[in-house]
Every structure is written in structure tokens, then in C-alpha cells.
Symmetry: C2
Subunit: 357 residues, 2 copies
């Protein structure tokens, strides 16, 4: 029948013939239906790519995609708000709208993975930025099938290899914090981590340990604790540390909010910071600047991370070639007033560097 099989019209049927499947099957792939085997889907996808076929629906919805959805666990942390600020900033310059969404607030109709992904398409969303752990692989899968751009920010759990993610150099940050304390002359340095299962906590811990070992200090198990990223955790851990026979002279807290708890408990027990105890936080949120005393903290470029995440989405959307699926932005130590040399013993050897600027 079709004399000129190849160059004619570029229709669904043509693509189907090329791959050797039926038209409905190609249609299903184009529209992200589920009942297509992975292998078949891949072949069709390839042909689609080659021929550049677009469904009429795709053809007409040219401008769309002016919105991204951002999903948070909760907005109770300064961390999340900062990331959101970064996203908003980039959204403003790139003229995107931002749909905010909070997990844990699951509503009347919890909306399965498939519906949720389909909805993204229906509403013409450019993609999704996830700042939470609670995003199952089923959901990621549904997105991938529909080729919806998705970016995970600083995932608590390591993300699947083929998902884009944005994070910070937690290991380097942990090392910087501990090194700073070592340089001030501290030898007894505690670490209060976040959830021990979280990727980022672990990286910070290992950075801390690396610095200690490099400085010839043994890592004491009883100086290391973990718990949620909340002030109460700082309070609890601080109590435990102060109850020790040989309490540390410095603390590296895994987040500013934990450090805030430490600060509160220190005041209650009349432990002066930084004179009697040095304290380093992590995140570099406004909390760190406004606390009493202002907190030395490892600053994460949270806004930058938000910006990057959106930029990632936009580049995926525009079909740009993306070299790396993972971006890791640099953390840096901001020295404020919560760290000082330890009181009793001046460090041996060379004199300690004076307060950095």
C-alpha cells in the first residue's frame, strides 16, 4: 500500500511501522500509559526521538509549561524556606510560576503516583522539584515514563542514579567545621548529627571524622550523637554531653536548629558560649545570624540550590544536553561569635590563629 514508506507524512502510524508495533502502542508511549513493556517503550521512545514525532496535542500546546511544582516535607524549617526563596528568585527571572505543595498534609484524596504524574501533564507543568524524602520510586517511575523533568534537592536518601539531584558539599563542610575548631585549639569536639540514616548527616559526620583524624585526634564515640534536625534534639544531646565525666570543649551541630537548642540548654546550665564551649552550626540560615551569640556556621548555598534546581528543570524542558545528573554546590564556613579557643589549655606548638575574618 504505502509505496513511500519513509519520507511521507510523519504520522503515528509511520512511527509504529518503523518500530514494528501497532499504532495504539505508540500512542500509549506518547501519552505515558502504563500497559507497555519497558523494552517496547524504549524502542518506541528511540524511534520517537529519531523521527521527532509530536502528537497533535503536543504540537499545539506550544507555550505552556510556565509552572513548576515544588514539594516540601514541611515549611517549619528555615532550611526549606531558604531553598524556596532560591526557587522563587529564579522563577521570577525566568517567568515561571511556582506551585507549592506540602507532603504529610495528605488530603481527602491522596492521589496515586500515576494520577499525580498525569496531572502534571494535564496542568502543563514544566516539572517538579522535590525537597523531601517522601517521594517513592513508584512516583519517580511514573514521572520518568512521562518524561516529566524532576529534581531532588539534597535528598535524605540517596536518589536513584537516573534522577537529577542538587546538594551541597556536606563532607567538605563537616571537615571545615571540625578543622576550624581544631585550629582554635580544641581537641575534645563533639558532633550532633541529624538523622543517622540521612545521607547528608553521614557525609558531615565523615568530614568531621576526617578532620579529626588528620589532626591526630581520636574520634570518641560518646561525643557523637544523632537525631532529628530540631532544637529539642540539641537540648537533649547537650544535656547528655554536659553529664559526661569529660565533656567536650566544642560542639559541631549538624544544623543551625540543633545548635539553637544547644544554645538554649547552655544558657540554662550557665555554660557560656563561646568562652566555655564553642559551637558550630550547619546551614547558615538567618537563625544563625540572629541568635545570641551569632552562630559560627557552615553555610550551605540554600538559595543557590533552589535556583539550581529550577534551572535544571528548565534545561531538561528545553531538551538541553545535561552533562551531570548531580550538582554539588560548595559549602563554606562563616565564622561569627560562637567559637573561640578553649579556655583552659592553650594549644601546644604554634600559636593558634587569631579569630578569622
Amino acid at each position: 500500500m504505502d509505496r513511500l514508506s519513509r519520507p511521507s507524512k510523519l504520522t503515528l502510524a509511520a512511527v509504529a511501522a518503523e518500530v514494528g508495533v501497532s499504532a495504539p502502542t505508540v500512542s500509549k508511549v506518547v501519552n505515558g500509559r502504563e500497559d507497555v513493556a519497558e523494552a517496547t517503550r524504549a524502542r518506541v521512545l528511540a524511534a520517537l526521538q529519531r523521527t521527532g514525532y509530536k502528537s497533535p496535542l503536543q504540537r499545539k500546546s506550544i507555550p505552556e509549561h510556565r509552572a513548576v511544582e515544588v514539594v516540601f516535607d514541611s515549611l517549619n524549617s528555615a532550611y526549606g524556606v531558604e531553598v524556596l526563596n532560591g526557587v522563587m528568585e529564579h522563577a521570577a527571572v525566568s517567568e515561571m510560576e511556582v506551585i507549592l505543595s506540602i507532603t504529610g498534609r495528605q488530603a481527602a484524596s491522596p492521589l496515586g503516583p500515576e494520577e499525580r504524574a498525569q496531572r502534571m501533564i494535564d496542568e502543563g507543568r514544566a516539572g517538579m522539584i522535590v525537597v523531601t524524602s517522601a517521594f517513592g520510586s513508584a512516583q519517580l517511575e511514573a514521572f520518568k515514563r512521562r518524561q516529566i523533568p524532576i529534581v531532588v534537592v539534597d535528598p535524605l536518601n540517596p536518589p536513584p542514579a537516573d534522577v537529577f539531584s542538587v546538594g551541597a558539599s556536606n563532607w567538605a563542610g563537616g571537615k571545615a567545621a571540625a578543622s576550624h575548631l581544631l585550629e582554635l585549639g580544641h581537641r575534645k569536639i563533639a558532633y550532633m548529627g541529624g538523622p543517622s540514616t540521612a545521607e547528608c548527616s553521614q557525609a558531615r559526620l565523615h568530614g568531621y571524622m576526617a578532620a579529626l583524624m588528620a589532626g591526630g585526634v581520636t574520634v570518641e564515640d560518646e561525643y557523637i550523637s544523632s537525631g532529628p534536625f530540631k532544637p529539642e534534639n540539641g537540648v537533649r544531646a547537650m544535656k547528655a554531653l554536659l553529664a559526661l565525666d569529660d565533656p567536650p570543649t566544642a560542639i559541631f551541630a549538624g544544623s543551625d536548629s540543633i545548635a539553637l537548642g544547644v544554645l538554649a540548654e547552655a544558657r540554662r546550665q550557665d555554660v557560656r558560649i563561646p568562652e566555655e564551649m564553642s559551637l558550630v552550626g550547619f546551614d547558615g540560615t538567618h537563625q544563625a545570624e540572629e541568635s545570641v551569640p551569632p552562630l559560627t556556621s557552615v553555610s550551605q548555598p540554600l538559595q543557590e540550590m533552589g535556583r539550581s534546581a529550577l534551572s535544571f528543570i528548565l534545561r531538561q524542558k528545553n531538551g538541553e544536553e545535561i552533562d551531570s545528573r548531580r550538582v554539588e554546590l560548595a559549602t563554606h564556613l562563616v565564622v561569627r561569635e560562637s567559637t573561640a579557643p578553649p579556655r583552659a589549655s592553650t594549644p601546644l606548638g604554634e600559636s593558634p590563629p587569631s579569630r578569622a575574618e
Copy 2:
């Protein structure tokens, strides 16, 4: 041909036959295409109504108006974040989506009032919640003409009479704060307001003055200052107060963030709180709980305000009768550890009440 014309399957073709047009024509009407004569469209529409036919697309698609837009000045204040949390909470239960938008981040194309309003319609938005001052009357006008529900939360400027607004009982809050300090025995009580032009600052100030006058204390001008709702303002004002010949023994700050600045400056100058200086904040954000010492603060039901705002939108959307255009939610004083009786002079007359619970 079709023996049983009516009761069979309810397909597009059936409807077309009923009206006496072709299937494509019905399809066009269903999908809102333009190339159908008005008369024809009406006849088809009637048949559609009669038969109850729905296109597969309509069958699965969601009902419109599932999104509200929320506009903030910035997200740098805990205040805004709390309100947003309230909105998100209500959004979850009412299955609405939230589009977040920040003014001051004006983008490449600033989008005039009319376009902006029109866009709300085009995108099927249910309404808008404004948590900012920067929303001109031209913009409000454009919304009103199109009958787009809009709610202003705690407007800095008094809103036009015919715009819905949600606020808190600032006057009562100011009075409660000052009364609390009076009851503790303070007589020299300073007020650090927010922007003097802001409605809410003024209300708090007047509440404070009312309490003072009721307590027979004269209002000292030099104890009253104003400025932005930021820690730096608290620092500045605190410096000024401490430089006074006769500094106050208590401070009522117009917001928790201002109070945080006061706290920082107090520590720097070794003024102990609450022993040497009592301090009351306003807002009741998390900052107040986590500060050192925890802040006595006039708590605003910020989340509740957010919830109310959205609920207002929803009720307008559903055409419910709305009795009042203004809702004012109650503030209440939360006593924590930053207030105590003044050191030097025990109050005359009756003994001061012990620390409230």
C-alpha cells in the same frame, strides 16, 4: 441503519445523529472550537445537555478552579511563613493548589494590572490571597471588575472598604502586652513599633497607650520608636533606649524579629533579660520559643489567619453569602521567660501577681 437510535451506547456519533450534524461538529462543540456557527452550537449543546454526553477527556479531567495564588512581599519573615503554613493546611483539606508569588521580584515583563487579572481567569484561578502592602488600588479594581475573589491578610495600609481582609486584634494585643508589664510592676515601658505608617503598628501602639493610661502611667515620647520589622531595628532602638538618662525597665517590641534584635543588643551590653529588662514580643512565631531566653510574646493566630483567608476565597467562589468583609482573629499573650518584675522597686499598693502560668 441504526435500529435502536436512542438507548444504545451514548457516543459522540449518537449525539451527532440526534442533532442531525456530523460527528466532527459535535466534537468541536464539546472541545470549544471556534468554527461552529452559534445556532448550530446551541442545538448541539442542548442535545449534549439532554443526553449527558461527556468526552473521554472531560470524563477524567478535574473540575476547574482548583488553585489560588498567594502573594507575599518576601518570605524572609517568620510571619509570612506561618501564614503560608496556614494557607497550605487549608489547601490540603480543601484540595486546592497554591501558587506562590513574591512581589519585589519583578521579572522581565512586569505584567500590568489588567493582564494580571485576566491571567487569573485564563488559568482558572479561584482567587488571590495578598499578604503584602504592594498591591495598588488599580490592581484591586481590575480584580473586582472581573469578580475574582481576593483577600488581603493583615494589610499594612487600611484596605478599601469593599475588599475582604483578615487580620488580628492588634489593639487588644498591644493592650495585653502593656498590661502584663504593668501588672508585673513596670512603670517605665518602651514601645518599639514597626513602620509607623502600618495600620497594625498603630493599633498596637494605641493598645499600649490605652493600657498605660488605664494604669495611670504617662506615655513618654522618648520611649516610643518605630522602624521596619527587622532585628536591626531592635538593635538600633535598644541602643537608643539604653543611652537614655532614665532608661525603661521593660520593652514591648512590635514584632518578634525586632525583639530578637533587642535580645542581641542586650547581651552585648550585658543587660540581663528578664532580670534587668523585661521584653515582650509580638507574633508568637517559633523564633519566640527558641530564643534565649524564650520570649514572652503576643501570639497572633497566623496559621489561622492563613486558613481563614483561603476559606474566605472558597466561600466567595461558591457564591455563599458573606456577612462581614473583615475578620479579626484574637491575639493572646503567651508568657515565657523574658518578663519579670522590675528589679529595683517593688510595686506599691498591692503585691504584684506572681508569674502567670
